[in-house]
Symmetry: C2
Subunit: 329 residues, 2 copies
Amino acid sequence: MKLGRISRDGIDGPEARLVAVLPEQGRAVDLRTAERLRLVGRGATPEAGTRLAAATFPGSMTSAIGAGPAFLEAAHEALTRCGDDASLDLEGLTWLPAVDPPVMRDCMAFKEHLTNAAARLGQEVHPIAYELPAYYKASQSSLIGHEQVVPWPAYTNWMDYELELGFVIGRAGRNLTPEQAGAHLFGVTIYNDFSARDIQGREMQLNLGPAKGKDFATAVGPWITTVDELDLADLDMRARVNGEEWSHGNAGSIWWSPAELIAYVSWGENLQPGDLIGSGTVGRGCGLELGRRLQPGDVVELEVAGIGVLRNRLAQPEREGREPTPRPR
Amino acid sequence: MKLGRISRDGIDGPEARLVAVLPEQGRAVDLRTAERLRLVGRGATPEAGTRLAAATFPGSMTSAIGAGPAFLEAAHEALTRCGDDASLDLEGLTWLPAVDPPVMRDCMAFKEHLTNAAARLGQEVHPIAYELPAYYKASQSSLIGHEQVVPWPAYTNWMDYELELGFVIGRAGRNLTPEQAGAHLFGVTIYNDFSARDIQGREMQLNLGPAKGKDFATAVGPWITTVDELDLADLDMRARVNGEEWSHGNAGSIWWSPAELIAYVSWGENLQPGDLIGSGTVGRGCGLELGRRLQPGDVVELEVAGIGVLRNRLAQPEREGREPTPRPR
């Protein structure tokens, strides 16, 4: 199943709604509406149908996934019984980030990206990268969805994309082995880890990882495809800028498997439903590796087989905000 | 006002409740209860009183702060009118993390800590540290409250504490100047950034910042003191281990002010109510700077004047979880 989040206009303003997406039919089914209709069709009062449907299909993907297997079971039931009556044209929908993760981590799970990044600095891949599937923690404050505009902060002149997979966690866990961890994967989405390379290069010398270099925007979507529909060993991955293909890779080239990443995250930590783990960039999956830069107004499309196309346009640069006042030496 | 979160047993299990804390009286007032009593006293039905009180005082501090000035106004009103009837003995309460932040960042705002850390590596403070108040993003998955046990992950033999302030954000903002940013500070809590120095030293060589070295536990509490009650230029800060004082500093020695930190975070990013910004370690505020290490079972107390004492005991080491299988060279 393909599950996404859209914004619809309600009486009190925009409301987040979960949808099941049927791309081949050009339709998306509002799951709360479908569930309400199903319940009312079985004799529920409209009030009870609305209340129960809202509990099963909240606006938060994390809250929905938190219900466990009951969530997907209910989605299948709603879709089968009343999908037609609750369906919307895919065109013209307002997409939200497919997930609203409690914690968001981004790994470096493709070796070719590490090799290329190290080569640019005249180095080899660090020995510790062979021992630990390292990650940084991303920020949920600037998550954007499919077709949402990418803010261009005033502090950067060097904008880049990163072509990644986003692994969405289905259930809680701690200290999992890789053999156990695979079952904790709910689905996969497309993850564009937009990067401001100039400030990223400065701040990362302070050894705390990327912050301003990444946190202005991360695009996640257009939706999640559940794991049962995907062969993670073979997913074609492409990036296009203004229609021109810049990157082409495959999920099968991953160095640390999704199960290994999930197990590592859970080591001494609480893995939570809705957590999002970025794979890191597939080999040659960003402009940095290709010697190319994005410009304001560029349209970046990331396509992953079995999921879809995540498309975002870059805004014009902001002028607001202020460079910190340097401390005296 | 001092505001915290506790867990109380409800019919369906533990419930998070917001409390106003009166340390000098040894009491904490359950704000939802006080508000319900106040409303019923003014003629609300019990059902309406319960419903309205739950909306004003949810279990989430972030949700409560999101109401804007109405939250503190309602807390004052509830406390003044019905505080006595809703009060609990401070002894024996089960504390939760004082905040449940959407995004959690941790800075390096005290210069002495940077100087000491650099000196240990035979270096000087990096020139870029004079230009940017760098931060890493912490993880909300392992937040713990006052008196909660600190898990000791299997992967570390070198445990440390860090004596920090936690700045809690009161309202949204973007691209703020330092002159504007001060008004976005809601209150201050105590922040113990527990650290596993061995794995931290390994993973940080990969340039993504700390992850396993920090994310197993961060203690936040015992509560938040609102800014109107604090002089941020002079707050005595102490750390004790098993009753012995290890660290002593003052908030006034901060190198980047809270307003500067908040402004920097908001540069090209959406600051959100409930966000938590750690100050970084005060000078000599961790065992690393003192050549000392924590042991299983140790009790760490962080005390900050005007706030209180945040006390946590270290667990025995976990045995679960698995070291990643190294990739072949």
